[in-house]
Symmetry: C2
Subunit: 319 residues, 2 copies
């Protein structure tokens, strides 16, 4: 259904918008009943179903002046698909709840949905249902359902003697966010990394098959996520500064903002790189070893950097 | 973890609250990994997985001065469990996203979670995951996953010659809402029906087994939902006024507010009664026949009341 270019959600109405959105979502063969009934119906094989949910709030997780609707759609999908990746699974189906002011341009919702659908297409997942309602602020609620072909990789399996390894870009999105926060638009590659992360969707399954003992995706900050692994596994993790190569755009941003570029890597999130522990001789290709797992000391489980407590920001807190 | 009675979300912090909330959610045997990892992991049997999602926004779907946190929790769970009921399935697992202002009392979130968990326990479903973040307004996003032991009952299967039947209280919540809207607190039974609906959780599966051809739960209004069945099935549905007994509390509210009490029944939602179509001789016990399915006429699929267009409110629209 073509919408007038300046139509708002109120102009188009709930059912008009749902109808326009639904057309954007192609359904995979596993979807027996897609959007439009009381519930979607999926065909599943016996095994493990993996489920995760995330909220994104305008002004907190995204700004409409910093990212296009399509970018926000990509990010909303990516951060959820990444949670399934971090279990070693593959996403199959997602639902979207969109709460939005009545004066939100309908075109924003459609562009958002287009970006969301395009990101899901990267892993062959379908948007199978959703809800749309009015609120003062744009809030996006996504739930993702996936499947594992082997045992899911949880956070609690790391053992002393193993190594911590990283797969994917890390710190780029944080660099992009810092740039945007100062009113700049370059280095463009970092701003793009913030607007549209590129989670390594195949790496999770490969890591699981290689015997990863614990895994998490870096959404809130590398040291914060390493801390989650340490706490869940009741171990200590030491991260080595020298293990990280500082990519050129992060060096440039560090110089321009007078900041240590390693801060973006150690404290930044939003790239959805994967962080996993492996027995030393089982680290798959493409993963960089960035630390070691040891017995928890007197202070209990936790993360150190080069053997000492880290005094920079380690990640994002929500309250 | 005991929380100080006047602590806010900001005081308790994201992880403190998540930890307190998680303790409230007991996990069923099908839950291999519950809250706390990147995703929950569920054991499923081969078959149909049924998924639905719903948003509730403060000031729009609930008011904190009209309902306790526990009631809001019951309602949030009930409306989602009801969507699975309306497919003829049984809910097994739910996720909750809670976006809330930093000054929300932590006790509100805990009471909400307690009500939510208690409602889920009625059908043996588990809260397997969630997300918590800050927003200007309380927004609750729930996704429910369920299973069907037989083919799911969709909206599109109604055929001319069948009957429309209703199971469960209908109009009570709308009566309660009308009462609250005028600043009253009685009849108490209606106010309670609004605050804490009692969806007929067993009736959906029974209807499916009896051969219901189309089914929906009444969340937005009986005639609106009948309209969804008519449109999806490409039929006409005629609802008969005389088929409804007006329960005494609705008669009282009608008299007090100078309204036709049938309006609450025909236009009211939120009770989550079930509306289904059956071949005339297959209507299960406890269901009331309230209308007939006929061929769509010249005006296309739609709903009439006693053979004529209805001029009252038929349900709720979101924009």
């Amino acid at each position: 259904m073509p919408l007038p270019p300046d139509a708002t959600l109120a102009d188009v109405g709930e059912f008009g918008l749902i109808s326009a959105l639904t057309e954007l979502f192609t359904q995979g063969e596993h979807v027996l009943i897609g959007p439009g009934d009381d519930a979607a119906v999926l065909r599943v094989k016996t095994g493990h179903v993996v489920v995760s949910t995330d909220l994104m709030v305008e002004g907190r997780h995204f700004r409409r002046d910093w990212a296009s609707a399509e970018d926000v759609g990509h990010r909303a999908a990516a951060q959820n698909l990444s949670d399934i990746n971090a279990m070693g699974g593959r996403a199959t189906s997602l639902t979207i709840g969109l709460a939005a002011p009545a004066d939100l341009p309908a075109a924003w919702a459609l562009e958002f949905a287009r970006g969301f659908a395009d990101e899901c297409a990267l892993v062959g997942a379908s948007v199978v249902g959703g809800d749309l309602t009015r609120s003062d602020q744009v809030v996006i609620a996504v739930t993702v359902i996936g499947a594992c072909t082997q045992s899911p990789v949880v956070r609690s399996g790391a053992e002393p003697g193993e190594v911590l390894a990283l797969f994917g870009r890390q710190g780029w999105a944080a660099g992009g966010l810092a740039v945007l926060g100062r009113g700049f638009r370059s280095p463009r590659v970092l701003v793009e990394a913030y607007r549209r992360p590129e989670p390594p969707y195949d790496a999770g399954r490969v890591a699981a098959e290689a015997g990863a003992t614990a895994m998490i995706d870096v959404s809130d900050g590398l040291l914060a996520e390493a801390g989650h692994l340490a706490t869940a596994s009741q171990v200590a993790i030491d991260v080595r500064r020298e293990a990280f190569e500082i990519p050129e755009p992060l060096q440039a941003v560090g110089a321009a903002l007078g900041a240590d570029p390693l801060q973006f890597i150690l404290g930044g999130g939003d790239d959805h790189a994967l962080l996993a522990t492996f027995a030393p001789d089982t680290v798959p290709d493409g993963w960089s070893v960035v630390g070691e797992v040891t017995e928890a000391g007197e202070d209990g489980p936790g993360v150190t950097v080069d053997g000492a407590a880290y005094d920079g920001p380690t990640g994002w807190t929500h309250f």
